[in-house]
Symmetry: C2
Subunit: 380 residues, 2 copies
C-alpha cells in the first residue's frame, strides 16, 4: 500500500481578498475573534484594517501581540490562556510565519491543554482546534497553508516541529497588498525559505504527482521573480512570490521536508536568526549529499533552475546546484556557515539535535549525525 | 479586485486507500452512513467491500442504489427522503459521476429541502450539507473533488449544473484498484471527460496560476497514459489516469468550464449518452472558436499535446487541435455530431438551452446561440 494524503485549506487569493476576512470568520459562526499579529503589522496599518473589517461584520475581537519572531513555548501558553479567558471562538492571524505559528500553537493548547512539548512530532493532536483564518504577510513560511507549526523550546534551545492535519488553517486569505509593506530583506529571506520548501518537498520520500507539480512551479516562479521583486517590490512582482510560496506550501505540507530544514530548525533554536537565511548556507551541500538517492529529481530541479538541460543528467543536476549557489550569492546574504555561527564547537550538538527532527524522516537519503557534521563542515 | 477562490477536498490517494474510508466517516462523528452506489459497483464486489469496511469501524449504514446513469431529479428527491427516514448522518458514495452527483443532490435536499431545480446555477445552497466521503470508480467526472453536481431535469430534458462550495466533498478517497473493474469503453469516455475538464479550465475566464498547473499536467498525463491504459488497463496505468482526473477536477472545480460543457449538458439532457462521448465531437470546434480570445493559452495546450512548439504560435495552436482530433479518432468513438444525433432540427433548441448553462459564463469568448449553432453545424 502506498497511500498519500493531500490536504490544503480553502484559499482566497488576490489583491482585495483581505476584505472578505470577516466574512470567512462569520462562516464558522464566529462571534469573538482572537486576532494574533505583531508590532510590524500594526505599524503598517494592517491590524487596524483587519479590526475594521471584523467590525464591519459585527464581530467582537480580542487582540494578542505578545510574541517574538521565532515564537517561544511560554508565549503560546500565555496566548492560550488569553484565548480562553476572553471567550473567543475563532483564531485569526495576520503576519509572517511567527504570528501564524503562534496562532496555531494557541489554537492547539486552547483546545487540547497540556504543554507545547506534548505535541512535538507528527500526528499527536487528538482534539479538534477552533476554526483558523490566516492572512500571510510574507511569501515564504507557508504557515497559512501547511500542517506545520514551529515553536521554540526555550529550555532545550531547539525549534520544535509540530505536524498535524488539524494544523491546516480552514481558510487562507492571501492578499498580495499585505506583502507590499515588508522590507526587502524580509522579502528575500521569505522567498529563500519558500525555495527550500519547494526543493525539499520535491525530493521528499512522500512526494507524489499531486505535490511535485506544485514544487516545480514554485522553484520556477521564485528563480524568475525574486530578482524582479527586489528591484521593484510592487504588487505584480510580489503576487508572483505569493503564488510561489502558496504552491511550495501545498507541496511541503503534504510531503514534509528534509535535512536542510532539520538542520535549520536545530540552528534556529540556538541562533534566533531569520529562518530563511540559513538555507543559502545549507541547501546546496544537502542537495549534493542527496543527489545519490534521487538523481532523476535533481536533474528536473537543475532543468528548472537552468532553463534547459546539459549534455548529461549529472551535468544538469550539478550545474543546477551551482546556479542556485550563484543565485544566493547575488542576494546579499551569508553563504558560509562560519559567517552565521561563531563557534565550530557547537556543531556536533546541533547535528545531534537535527537527527531527532521529524523533517529528517522524509529526507531522500538516510543521514547520520556524522553525515550532517560533514555537511556543516563543507558549508563552513 | 481580482480575487480567486481555490477549494479542494482532503484527498487520500493510492492503492489501498479504500481501507481508510470507514475511518474517514468516523472523523465526522458518523454513526449511520448513507451509502450511494449502483449495480455495476455491486457486481464488481466494491459495495460489499465498503460495507465490510464500515462494519469494521462499528458503523451502521443505509444503502441506496435507486439511480440511473445521468441521475434524474425524482431519484434525488427519493434519496433525500430515504436519508432522512433512515436517520443517517454522513453521505458516502462509491461509483462514477452518476452515484457521486446523486449523493451530492441527496445531501443537498436532505439538509435544505425544496426541489433540485431551486439550486440550479451558482452559489444557491445556503445551509451546510452532511459530511461527504466519496470514492470514485472512474477517472473522469471529478465529482469527488469538484463543487459541481449535474442532475437531469426530466421535464425540461436538460442537465442542470449546480455549483456551490458546499458541494465539495469533505474527503475524496481515490483508490486506483477501484478503477480496474471498469470496462475499457468507460475508461475511455471518462478520460475524455477529464481531458475536456483540463482544456476548458485552462482557458476559463477564472483560471489562475493555482489552477493552470493542474490543467496542463492533466492534459499531459491523459494524452500519454490513456493509450497505455486501453492497451493494458492495469493498476499503474489507471493510477496515472486517476491522478490526471484529480488534477483536472482541482482545476475545473475552481474555474468552472466552457462552451463544450454547456453544449454537452444540453445534448446530454436529451440524449442520455455517456457524457464523455460528446466532447470528441464538440471540443475541437469549440477550441477553434475560442482561439481568438486566448491565443497564448491555445499555444500552451498545443505544445503539451504535440510535445514541442512549431515555427509560429498559430501553427502550434492549430496543430495541437488537429492532433487532438487524431487522438479522438484513434479511440473508436464518434467524432461527428451527425453520428450522435439523428435529427438536425433539434439543434437550435439545444443551443438555446446551452446558452442558459452556467458553464458558458466562463467560456473565454462570448458566444451567441447563432455562434453555437455554427459550431454544431461545423461538427455535424
Amino acid at each position: 500500500m502506498d497511500v498519500r494524503k493531500f490536504a490544503v485549506p480553502e484559499i482566497l487569493f488576490g489583491a482585495g481578498s483581505l476584505e472578505y476576512a470577516g466574512l470567512c470568520a462569520r462562516r464558522f459562526g464566529a462571534e469573538k475573534v482572537f486576532l494574533v499579529s505583531d508590532t510590524g503589522l500594526e505599524q503598517a496599518g494592517w491590524v487596524a484594517q483587519v479590526l475594521e473589517i471584523l467590525r464591519g461584520q459585527g464581530l467582537d475581537w480580542h487582540y494578542f501581540n505578545d510574541i517574538t519572531s521565532n515564537p517561544r513555548d511560554f508565549q503560546i501558553v500565555e496566548g492560550a490562556r488569553s484565548y480562553l479567558e476572553a471567550g473567543c471562538d475563532v483564531v485569526m492571524a495576520i503576519g509572517g510565519g511567527s504570528p501564524m505559528d503562534a496562532a496555531k500553537g494557541i489554537a492547539m493548547l486552547a483546545s487540547s491543554g497540556g504543554r507545547v512539548q506534548d505535541y512535538e512530532g507528527a500526528n499527536r493532536i487528538q482534539r479538534p482546534l477552533p476554526p483558523m483564518v490566516f492572512m500571510p504577510s510574507n511569501a515564504g513560511s507557508g504557515a497559512d497553508i501547511s500542517q506545520f507549526a514551529i515553536i521554540t523550546d526555550v529550555e532545550r534551545q531547539v525549534k520544535m516541529s509540530i505536524i498535524s492535519r488539524t494544523l491546516v488553517p480552514n481558510i487562507s486569505v492571501i492578499d498580495p497588498r499585505v506583502l507590499t509593506t515588508k522590507p526587502v530583506d524580509l522579502i528575500v529571506s521569505s522567498a529563500i525559505d519558500a525555495l527550500s520548501h519547494a526543493i525539499e518537498s520535491y525530493v521528499s520520500n512522500l512526494a507524489s504527482t499531486l505535490t511535485e507539480i506544485h514544487s516545480l512551479k514554485a522553484i520556477d516562479l521564485i528563480m524568475t521573480w525574486l530578482p524582479c521583486a527586489i528591484e521593484q517590490p510592487n504588487l505584480d512582482n510580489l503576487e508572483k512570490l505569493g503564488t510561489a510560496s502558496t504552491l511550495a506550501a501545498m507541496a511541503f505540507s503534504n510531503t514534509s521536508l528534509g535535512m536542510d530544514h532539520a538542520l535549520a530548525h536545530s540552528l534556529g533554536g540556538k541562533l534566533d536568526i531569520a529562518h530563511g537565511l540559513i538555507h543559502p548556507v545549507l541547501l546546496p551541500p544537502v542537495m549534493r549529499f542527496n543527489m545519490a538517492a534521487c538523481p532523476a529529481k535533481m536533474v528536473d530541479i537543475g532543468q528548472i533552475v537552468l532553463g534547459h538541460r546539459l549534455e548529461t543528467h549529472e551535468a544538469t543536476a550539478l550545474a543546477g546546484i551551482e546556479k542556485l549557489e550563484a543565485f544566493f550569492a547575488g542576494l546579499d546574504v551569508s553563504t558560509r556557515l562560519g559567517q552565521i555561527i561563531g563557534d565550530k564547537q557547537s556543531l556536533e550538538k546541533l547535528c545531534r539535535m537535527a537527527a531527532r527532527d521529524v523533517c529528517l524522516l522524509t529526507n531522500p537519503r538516510d543521514a547520520t549525525v556524522a553525515d550532517m557534521l560533514n555537511i556543516c563542515k563543507e558549508a563552513w
